[in-house]
């Protein structure tokens, strides 16, 4: 017990004194996860809106598949992206395996089902009359889509935050695609895993506290948005 208390005190000290390693790992984690969520939003929200607004054969099957992939194990995505990015893979020529860019791509794939699925669910709540009204007032297809998304902006922001939370807290993709290289691809989750195995509990705890605090902030923001 004493070891835990002492570790916790040292952890807080590392945070308060802005230990360069702790700050570096945190900043890298935030950068990679924010980039993956931002890029994913640009693709997934319009894609979700398209799926929701159009009728086509197999739509139900696709939505069921998307829902199933919510709980996609991160190591499975890690393996898939590893195969794609490895030297002999289809995107091997990009040479982004064991780089932050590869991790961003992996996290984008990981959160895509959640982002698309939540977009479809949120837009499904919008009354068809909203679309009709926008159309009758002269909105183009794109303007109708933007208007519809704006009607459920709180739910859309919650989807983005959920995607960010999943990207930030995952280990599989970060470890398998990033390789946990110190100062380059080491992020909060992979650092905690490594430092714990090496017995550096105070650093692990400091990083854990930061991860928990960010998750808490994300959850608070989501609850606030969903309460609107």
């Amino acid at each position: 017990m004493e070891e835990i208390w002492s570790g916790l005190l040292q952890a807080f000290e590392l945070i308060i004194t802005l230990d360069p390693e702790v700050v570096g790992i945190t900043a890298r984690s935030l950068y990679i996860s924010l980039a993956s969520v931002f890029l994913s939003s640009l693709i997934d929200i319009p894609l979700g809106a398209m799926i929701e607004s159009r009728e086509f054969w197999g739509k139900r099957g696709i939505i069921s598949l998307i829902h199933t992939l919510y709980s996609l194990p991160t190591v499975t995505v890690g393996l898939l992206v590893y195969l794609i990015l490895s030297r002999n893979g289809p995107l091997g020529s990009l040479e982004i395996l064991y780089t932050p860019a590869g991790m961003i791509l992996g996290q984008m794939i990981l959160i895509t089902p959640i982002m698309i699925g939540l977009t479809i669910s949120a837009l499904g709540e919008v009354s068809p009359q909203v679309k009709d009204t926008a159309k009758s007032l002269g909105a183009s297809e794109l303007q109708i889509m933007i208007t519809t998304i704006n009607e459920v902006r709180s739910a859309m922001l919650a989807a983005v935050l959920l995607g960010f939370g999943r990207a930030l807290s995952e280990v599989g993709v970060a470890m398998m695609i990033g390789g946990n290289i110190r100062g380059y691809t080491r992020v909060l989750t992979t650092a905690i895993s490594l430092e714990t195995s090496m017995g550096n509990l105070e650093l692990s705890m400091a990083l854990g506290i930061i991860l928990l605090s960010i998750s808490l902030l994300v959850n608070l923001a989501m609850n606030r948005l969903q309460g609107r």
Binding site: T133, K135, S136, G138, T147
Partner: protein, 235 residues
């Protein structure tokens, strides 16, 4: 060539005809009252004219151009010459100002003055900053009319614009419609209120079970003998 020509227009859902053989030529400045009981196809007809739905048969011509076969981009241009107020209008999230200026904004226009005058016209001066979700039913109906009026549409489609309104709000909307008579706007007003139709319309079309059973000036349609009226307006 008439401004708007509907020729043998029909619409079917799942094999059931809801509109059949609707043909009428309309000019600018006219107020056409479409009268008929619930389910007679009034709303469907307005939706077809507004290009919200495609007809199953027949054609709609605007300035001689058939609209049905146009590519989507040109359909959008045609739709932008019209505005429709639905029977139960919805407000977008945001303020009254944002709602009324919606159509202007998507056309890349910013004209605060026209928004103000449209709100004045519907007796809602000073409502600009009000949250649209806090409006009453009558206020929503009037904001929806203002939202259409700011676009200065060449064709204004009104679906039961005064249904469920208190007499004062209904009178305000009636007087706005009346003020459009003889101007360049073609107004198509769907209603089941015979008095309103008689008061406002320059021509009346009677819809029954998806068919246009009578068309003419209000006096011709409404001043028919009781027996004939029962045939033309049998509800």
């Amino acid at each position: 060539m008439s401004f708007l020509e509907l020729e043998a227009l029909g619409k079917a859902y799942g094999g059931v005809d809801v509109l059949q053989g609707i043909s009428i030529n309309l000019s600018r400045g006219e107020i056409l009252g479409i009268i008929g009981p619930t389910g007679s196809g009034k709303t469907t007809l307005l939706r077809l004219v507004n290009l919200l739905e495609a007809p199953s048969s027949g054609s709609i011509r605007l300035d001689g151009i058939a609209l049905n076969d146009l590519p989507e981009k040109e359909k959008l241009s045609a739709r932008r010459r019209m505005a429709m107020v639905f029977q139960k209008p919805v407000m977008f999230k945001g303020s009254v100002q944002e709602n009324v200026s919606y159509g202007l904004k998507i056309r890349g226009k910013k004209d605060q003055k026209i928004v103000r005058s449209a709100l004045e016209a519907v007796n809602l001066s000073g409502y600009q900053s009000r949250d649209a979700s806090s409006l009453s039913g009558g206020e929503i109906q009037r904001v929806a009319l203002a939202r259409a009026l700011v676009l200065q549409p060449e064709i204004l489609l009104l679906d039961e614009p005064t249904a469920n309104l208190d007499p004062k709000s209904a009178a305000a909307i009636d007087s706005i419609i009346q003020s459009l008579a003889g101007q360049s706007t073609l107004v198509i007003l769907a209603t089941h209120n015979m008095l309103q139709c008689k008061r406002l319309a320059s021509r009346v079309a009677v819809l029954m079970k998806g068919r246009m059973v009578a068309v003419g000036e209000p006096e011709e349609v409404f001043d028919l003998g009781q027996e004939q009226l029962d045939i033309a307006v049998p509800w």
